[in-house]
Symmetry: C2
Subunit: 308 residues, 2 copies
């Protein structure tokens, strides 16, 4: 991690010599930190009950770009903090995100057989174990946060983003709304709850780890909200334009389930334009922050550019 800090300092000091921010290297490096942190934090696979600990690791290490943890660390640095202090918080965010994927994939929910190109957890370990592995990862997220210096504040932020008024509520509505009228406001609320609030929380929690002011947290929250929505719009677009190989799951599955999507509501072109506008808003929100905001800017573009 030290070499990364040095690199960043160098980048800051020699910005004119290094005008292009290398997001790909940045993301690979940080995803690697997160993977190491998760490996250190999770109970060892040989620890009792082994089947449960193996199941938790299966879903965590099956892949994933670690976007939420990377945003969390970048947000800490954007207000003058360190990625090191935000790293365990990033691990907690990834545990929570993975729990939500495991439960969403269950037969009683979205009933998905593939995730990131691999069989979903319940396909490999059975439904009961998938439910319990999800429960355990959700609980572990709070166990990790409780051990951070700002434990209570971080827990509150995550719980509010993840509960019935956030992620779980969004998934509830997403299931309930299937085969219902295509209504854009409904759709925006579902997306905000199901995806946006956790991404917003990831950014704010990074700020909290760096003792950000209330104004700075608010700016990070606005950034997170905008890219969270952009991210979901991008996902909707991907679901109709990508190939199964790239996507790691069935293409067109949203349409087959008659799920309401941005693409279905306003068409691909308008959806792309809206995603780009949200990226602009996100970057504007970063203006007032005192630290290095270059990674957050690059990440905002990445959210949309990965597919256009």
């Amino acid at each position: 991690m030290k070499s990364e800090t040095n690199r960043l300092e160098k980048t800051k000091n020699n910005r004119t010599l290094c005008p292009m921010f290398d997001l790909k290297t940045y993301m690979t490096e940080r995803a690697d930190w997160i993977n190491q942190a998760l490996d250190r934090t999770l109970p060892p696979p040989m620890e009792h009950p082994t089947g449960l600990h193996e199941a938790m690791r299966y879903s965590l290490f099956i892949g994933g770009k670690r976007i939420r943890p990377i945003l969390c660390m970048a947000a800490a640095e954007a207000v003058g903090g360190t990625a090191e202090a935000a790293l365990p918080i990033g691990a907690a965010l990834e545990c929570l995100h993975t729990y939500s994927l495991i439960h969403d994939d269950l037969p009683a929910m979205d009933d998905d057989d593939l995730r990131r190109g691999q069989p979903t957890l319940h396909k490999v370990y059975g439904e009961a174990n998938a439910i319990l592995a999800g429960d355990s990862l959700l609980t572990l997220a709070f166990e990790i946060l409780a051990q951070q210096p700002q434990g209570a504040q971080l827990s509150l932020e995550l719980a509010q983003a993840a509960g019935s008024r956030g992620l779980a509520g969004g998934q509830f509505e997403d299931l309930a709304e299937e085969r219902q009228a295509q209504n854009r406001e409904h759709l925006m609320r579902i997306h905000a709850n199901k995806t946006g609030k956790l991404i917003r929380a990831a950014c704010r929690m990074g700020g909290i780890s760096a003792n950000a002011t209330a104004t700075q947290l608010e700016a990070l929250g606005r950034y997170g909200e905008a890219i969270g929505l952009a991210f979901q719009i991008a996902d909707d677009i991907l679901n109709v334009t990508s190939t199964q190989e790239v996507l790691g799951k069935s293409v067109g599955s949203d349409a087959r389930r008659e799920k309401i999507t941005y693409v279905a509501c306003i068409g691909i072109e308008a959806a792309q334009a809206e995603a780009r506008e949200l990226v602009k808003q996100a970057i504007t929100a970063l203006n007032a922050l005192p630290g290095d905001t270059e990674p957050l800017q690059a990440l905002a573009h990445y959210v949309v550019d990965r597919l256009m």
Copy 2:
């Protein structure tokens, strides 16, 4: 709540005039406080998404003696604290306990149709909603704790009791052990994880709310561990001796599933003797505590006497 405090003080001052502790009134009164606290804390049933919030309330308010919250408040008072400060922590404990019942009852898990004499949540609201209502209650427990003065310490205590090394791990093993050899050590570990750790945490968390010393927390933990195990042994006994009307679920269901139980391992009489011995140990652990330990003593007896 004020009248209760007065009553307790009176009880303390006039102990010779009031030698018999009225546990029944005490439990009814405190269960009522908890029900009111839960009603205030949970999102209103009319708040969006209404179906999810109704489902959360269905399981929480279907019944239940609120033993964990009552233990938590009594533990606070046993070290000189107040039931008032421990009340929200009790509400969090009940949310967590209810989540575990909802998920345990799911078709993929224990597949129970009845709980407390009523249809289980998934029978009424469907499986997906039961999974999400459980997830939401688990998350809400941590949201409540994060807002308490000792938020981080309380969260850590609960997460350690509830995760893969506690309740969720115990349920995993309980499912895996069905139809396996009757092994008493296995059984004790499953019980300790599935039931004991949360009851232990309930007692310790009450102590934490009252700023108990490490020694006092340790004593409360030993008390909780002992009555937790006694409680589970008592449940095993109830499962073979009670009637469906009293139990609120099918009698003999453990034997039919070939679940390992204390009764199957050592017989009813030895199980009863072991439960009584644990109650003695629990009460001994209370000796060093500075506050009113009478309710905890009465609760320890209650755990076993409710069935013998």
